[in-house]
Symmetry: C2
């Protein structure tokens, strides 16, 4: 158990942004939300998974929508609690802990803000060990936990509760409502009991995010290579370094979809749906979902989200092995390249 205060947020947001593989929302907006909530309500208590009682009611709180929208349409700051309260009303019991559904700029920070606002402790972990675009793409799906009831709340005061026959259906219905709500809503769903956390979460990812963010900051301060520091913390492999020469991006169906083309020693193409899902070097596939394809600013080591990718930016792409549960047959069916329509199988990352 430890406290998260304002001082931890910079490193944590930076690291979460890197782990968010291009998605999860702008870390800066997330940091502001968490900072404001901690300023008002005080620091948040962070528990290891092992410290959470077996009968706890652990509620993931997240933002759903297209990160491109978040850049222009800021949250009201009331959505997280509105979603939590709507979920609790149908559950018939109160949340005892908050947890991130994924790591990613905004989606690691929103749970901190929600925990501060609700006066609840936070669990150190998340349900993906990275960021994925769709609501059913969580480890709890692999162990048969329903992601409904799923409560959505927008900035205007509308709420909506989905009770679906499958986790895919919840995504479909929630996404359609999310688009109508302005493509930027808060979500409370995929409730876990304390004794489901070991199987349903990747442990200690908030701490990993903080360690990662700190390593980048310290390397920069020491005039060392921040990207190399991040790669080392993550046990990742450098895939490419180059300049962004083209970005094709559209906000459609409730997602930010597109491609980015890099030029350096050869050419490199990234395909994304909120998150980077496929990387090709000179036409050959070098990394696929569910492994993490992280894009960093080559100079600063800061995460580059897909919506911030722009012509001329010098970036380095690193690949990081995903949680091994994602490379099981069921994991790949849920979040492997074929689910996203890419005609290729998952292939493990090249060795470093």
């Amino acid at each position: 158990m430890r406290k998260i205060g304002i001082d931890q947020l910079d490193d944590m947001a930076r690291g979460a942004g890197i782990l968010g593989t291009g998605g999860g929302g702008d870390p800066y907006v997330g940091k502001l939300l968490a900072r404001e909530a901690i300023r008002r309500h005080g620091p948040v208590t962070l528990y290891d998974i092992a410290e959470v009682p077996a009968d706890a009611t652990v509620v993931p709180i997240s933002g759903m929508g297209a990160p491109t929208v978040l850049l222009e349409k800021l949250p009201a700051g009331t959505e997280e609690l509105a979603a939590l309260r709507a979920l609790e009303a149908v559950l018939g019991r109160k949340a005892t802990h908050i947890v991130p559904i994924e790591v990613g700029g905004v989606n690691s920070m929103i749970p901190i803000a929600a925990a501060a606002q609700a006066g609840l402790p936070l669990v150190d972990g998340d349900a993906m060990g990275r960021a994925f675009p769709e609501a059913q793409m969580v480890l709890p799906t692999l162990i048969g936990v329903s992601n409904t009831p799923m409560a959505l709340a927008d900035d205007k005061g509308n709420t909506l509760v989905v009770d679906a026959i499958s986790n895919h259906w919840a995504e479909r219905l929630g996404r359609a409502a999310c688009v109508q709500m302005g493509c930027q809503v808060s979500c409370a769903d995929t409730v876990l009991r304390g004794d489901q956390l070991a199987d349903g979460l990747v442990p200690a990812t908030l701490t990993l995010a903080e360690d990662l963010g700190r390593a980048v900051r310290l390397a920069r301060a020491a005039h060392a290579d921040p990207v190399a520091a991040a790669t080392s913390v993550l046990g990742g492999v450098k895939l490419f370094a180059g300049k962004v020469v083209d970005v094709e991006r559209r906000t459609t169906g409730g997602f930010a979809r597109g491609k980015a083309l890099l030029a350096g020693a050869g050419s490199f193409e990234l395909s994304f749906q909120n998150e980077h899902l496929l990387a090709r070097r000179d036409g050959g596939i070098v990394a696929t979902t569910p492994d993490l394809i992280c894009v960093l600013d080559t100079d600063t080591g800061e995460p580059v989200t897909t919506e911030a990718m722009r012509y001329g930016l010098r970036v380095t792409v690193i690949g990081v092995p995903c949680d091994p549960r994602w490379t099981s047959p069921a994991g790949l069916e849920l979040a492997g390249p074929r689910y996203f329509g890419y005609d290729c199988d998952y292939r493990p990352l090249p060795l470093a």
Copy 2:
């Protein structure tokens, strides 16, 4: 108080189909649903509005979607109760009565089926006195009653509860979910207390539907003019008689939208969004929403829904004055021609 059994359904469905102004869903499908429910669960008790206790919890049950879809995708028959139960769960109390939200082929029959299944009495009236395409277009909106919580249930077992900041927002969010659910769902919303029924309902419209359907049937049996019989029961005016020469129809945004062109003594054009909303004779407007524009088969007096309109059909169009509350400024803002994008004001029907 009286009983509705299988024997009443034919007349009631026919009359409701006429009052549905082209929308409200295929009367035949609706009749089958109500017949099956009554066969299994027994007749339904129908109460006049004045007989309902002031503290009653009266729940409108309806189908939402595009009538064109209903022709090919039959309901499972489980949706009504699923929507009702989902609504009751968030209300925290049980419905005491069921009522139709509108008159129209399916939407007058679904409440009968729901009442039979739930073992609840039915109220003789509806919230429009006709059929309208959107969920906020109900008299309860005019007296400040919220249409949320709104519960939706599909044939697959998904349910969804909307809690919106306005009745328009509920329509928007519910419709988006409805489209994902297959464009054919059951809805429980716009809960009324017993003492709100006088202001929130048009009274005795199920009885009117039955009277109307009976008049058509008896005229036909007597080799009299069934369309004239219907016009007389409704106090309506004949607008045109002719042959359908063109139909332009698309299912989009959760609605059946389009136009139908008739030829006879001149030309006549009907514009619809689920329901007929505007009628032009030789280019001049002769009837507009919220007045009822009813299309009947000229030979049989049977209602012709927009989805059944086809080349060669001989039809007669009659105009019927709407409930006077709809022609108030607030009523016209909610359901007048300008709301639907027509650049004209409401004009009362020509005198008979």
